[in-house]
């Protein structure tokens, strides 16, 4: 079984690209699981952020999934093409990572 993630990549000022990744699918998996699988099996440079992995307590893994804002750790992976993009209303840092820190907690 396979799921397919279409992942928007790129840095500010560059034209974004879309990468297609086939990911092994197990029922019950999250989109974050699939992103982590891509990083450790396909491309270590794929940037996305998370901290707590599965508890939905850090709230750091917000992305756009098929045009809707979700937590990647609670969005279920499905056996179809799913489009993952960075948050549109935040400053892009790289790939799926945007600046989400409160302004007075930045360097």
């Amino acid at each position: 079984m396979k799921a397919v993630l279409l992942v928007r990549r790129g840095a500010p000022g560059q034209p974004p690209t879309e990468e297609r990744h086939e990911v092994p699918f197990e029922p019950g998996q999250s989109v974050l699981d699939a992103l982590r699988w891509i990083r450790s099996h396909r491309d270590p440079s794929l940037a996305f952020r998370y901290s707590c992995t599965n508890a939905n307590s850090c709230k750091e893994c917000m992305v756009r999934l098929d045009g809707k804002t979700v937590y990647a750790c609670t969005a279920r992976l499905q056996e179809r093409e799913m489009r993952v993009e960075p948050l549109p209303n935040k400053m892009l840092i790289r790939d799926l990572v945007t600046e989400i820190a409160p302004p007075d907690e930045r360097l």
Partner: protein
């Protein structure tokens, strides 16, 4: 090419979980200018925010308890290896911190105006305060974050990953860090520095850790000249969630269910089994973590595990009303995952949850390196060979406050200033490197598999030696592959740094576990069952 920046403070706190936030607040209260840095977002990463329920504290206002009872239970759970002074500090100062959190509006669960206390395994009475529903950690974090926001003496900097401490003339004078969003190298000079980076449970494949629990503080402190203690003792939480797959739920989630409802722990044949290993279950949650972990792993090894290799945990005898009263909206989150506890048992198995060992510090939280302090789970010794349920947040708050106080005092008396050369070697090291084909994220997974299999709840000489070889191989593979700093949110560099830290720390855990030729608390050697009081009633200290 990496840019560079410089910051300075009286007190630098590395890590913004419960211990780091409390340390920053206490240092600022005593007049210090503080930088609170975290590799993740402030108060979001780390273990505190993930805690679901219990905070152990000997509240004596109603005459029902006293810190000395809590202290006696802590020593007993520690199987003879607690540092008595640290354990006493944890228990004696616990009530003041819990009351302070109460005054700050954390919202401890109450009944008839009194703070409610739950019974937890290993305690002689109901002693654990909490915030409903399964909301203790988020409430503690939120309360501390609100205090931080109202404290202008504290500069909060998220996404700042401290990669080494700067030492000059034997004194810790600050740190070097990677600014994650830009890839800039940052030097921070500080008169006193507190390591509050939590534990190491991310070293294991099955863990309840966040990304930043990779043993950072141990590697930082050791490299700066501090000692580590009790590194072989990794606590496995016996009933971490195993199956069916749940999303958006911490794997420790069944702990509060058991506190409130008991629940029955059953083997693959749906029989009670804890009593066969000298414990008690009978639908009550009373047996300590080390013993339940042992019992589950033994049942699985004997072919009596649940389908996914753990045990069944059943609340099928509980009514829907009782379940909802205990867990509130969490019942709906379970329903969204397709789980109805009145109709099905779930599978649980031991999961790396806490590390008793850590940086060796005295009751001032001072390490042997002048100017370097530690706080929270990063400190080793208070919990000996096995931590009592509920002591981790208490430890974070108490040790955090004490470290903040000591660091502020130290910085007041310390007028020496670091000269820029203190940072030059480490800033150059962070900026240098050459990208190559090595995948550090895969390296981390390989390390986690090795630690789980060979340095997990059960160890043998052969497994530990195998792990040491594998770790050495990983270090050899990774060594030439460090990416240079300078790229925004460079996950390959972040993972490489983590793999470097995790292999260093994993090697220490395996080495100390190999040396301890007995079984005690969370350290179980299949080739050396039972205590060896004569040889091993002592703590192992790792020196640089």
């Amino acid at each position: 090419m990496a840019g560079s920046q410089h910051l300075s403070a009286d007190v630098l706190v590395v890590g913004a979980g419960g211990a780091g936030m409390y340390a920053a607040l206490e240092a600022a209260r005593r007049g210090a200018a503080v930088i609170l840095a975290d590799r993740s977002l402030i108060g979001r990463g780390g273990a505190t925010v993930m805690a679901q329920m219990t905070v152990a504290v000997g509240l004596d206002d109603d005459g029902l308890d006293h810190w000395e009872h809590h202290y006696a239970d802590t020593l007993k759970a520690g199987r003879g290896l607690c540092d008595p002074a640290l354990a006493q500090l944890l228990c004696e100062e616990g009530p003041a911190r819990i009351r302070e959190m109460d005054a700050w509006g954390v919202g401890w669960a109450r009944e008839n105006g009194k703070v409610k206390r739950a019974f937890a395994p290993g305690h002689d009475r109901a002693r654990c305060v909490y915030v409903d529903f399964l909301n203790t950690g988020p409430a503690v974090s939120k309360t501390l974050r609100a205090r931080l926001n109202a404290t202008p003496e504290i500069r909060r900097v998220g996404d700042l990953h401290v990669t080494s401490l700067a030492v000059q003339h034997g004194q810790c004078v600050g740190a070097v860090a990677l600014h994650v969003p830009t890839g800039d190298v940052v030097s921070i000079s500080s008169r006193a520095t507190i390591v509050a980076t939590g534990g190491l449970t991310r070293l294991y494949q099955r863990n309840s850790a966040s990304l930043n629990m990779a043993g950072d503080g141990y590697a930082l402190a050791l490299a700066a000249g501090a000692e580590l203690v009790d590194m072989e003792f990794v606590q496995f939480f016996p009933i971490g969630h195993l199956a069916p797959r749940l999303i958006g739920m911490d794997p420790i989630m069944w702990d509060p269910f058991r506190y409130k409802l008991g629940g029955r722990l059953l083997n693959g044949a749906r029989e009670e089994f804890i009593h066969k290993y000298g414990g008690v279950d009978e639908g009550r949650y009373v047996t300590t973590r080390d013993l339940v972990t042992y019992a589950i792993v033994k049942e699985v090894a004997a072919g009596r595990g649940s389908p996914h290799g753990g045990a069944w945990l059943s609340f099928e005898h509980c009514s829907e009303e009782a379940l909802r009263a205990a867990a509130g909206p969490v019942i709906d989150r379970l329903a969204a995952n397709g789980i109805d506890l009145t109709r099905q048992a779930i599978e649980v198995a031991p999961i790396a949850h806490y590390h008793m060992g850590g940086v060796k510090a005295d009751v001032r939280m001072a390490t042997r390196v002048s100017g370097l302090f530690a706080a929270g789970d990063a400190v080793g010794g208070a919990n000996g060979a096995n931590r009592l349920s509920g002591n981790a947040i208490t430890e974070a708050l108490v040790f955090g406050a004490r470290a903040g106080e000591s660091a502020a005092r130290f910085s007041n008396n310390e007028k020496a200033k670091a000269d820029p050369s203190a940072f030059s070697v480490q800033t150059r090291a962070l900026a240098s490197g050459a990208p190559c084909g090595f995948n550090p994220a895969a390296g981390i997974e390989a390390l986690q598999a090795t630690m789980q299999l060979d340095v997990g709840p059960f160890r043998t000489e052969a497994s530990l030696k195998r792990a040491l070889e594998r770790i050495a191989d990983l270090r050899r593979e990774a060594a030439p592959a460090k990416p240079p700093a300078g790229r925004p949110f460079d996950t390959a560099l972040l993972d490489w740094l983590d793999l470097d830290t995790m292999t260093r720390v994993g090697e220490i855990v395996a080495r100390t576990a190999l040396a301890r030729t007995e079984s005690r608390g969370a350290h179980q050697r299949e080739d050396f069952p039972g205590l060896d009081e004569e040889r091993w009633h002592r703590n192992q200290v790792v020196t640089p």
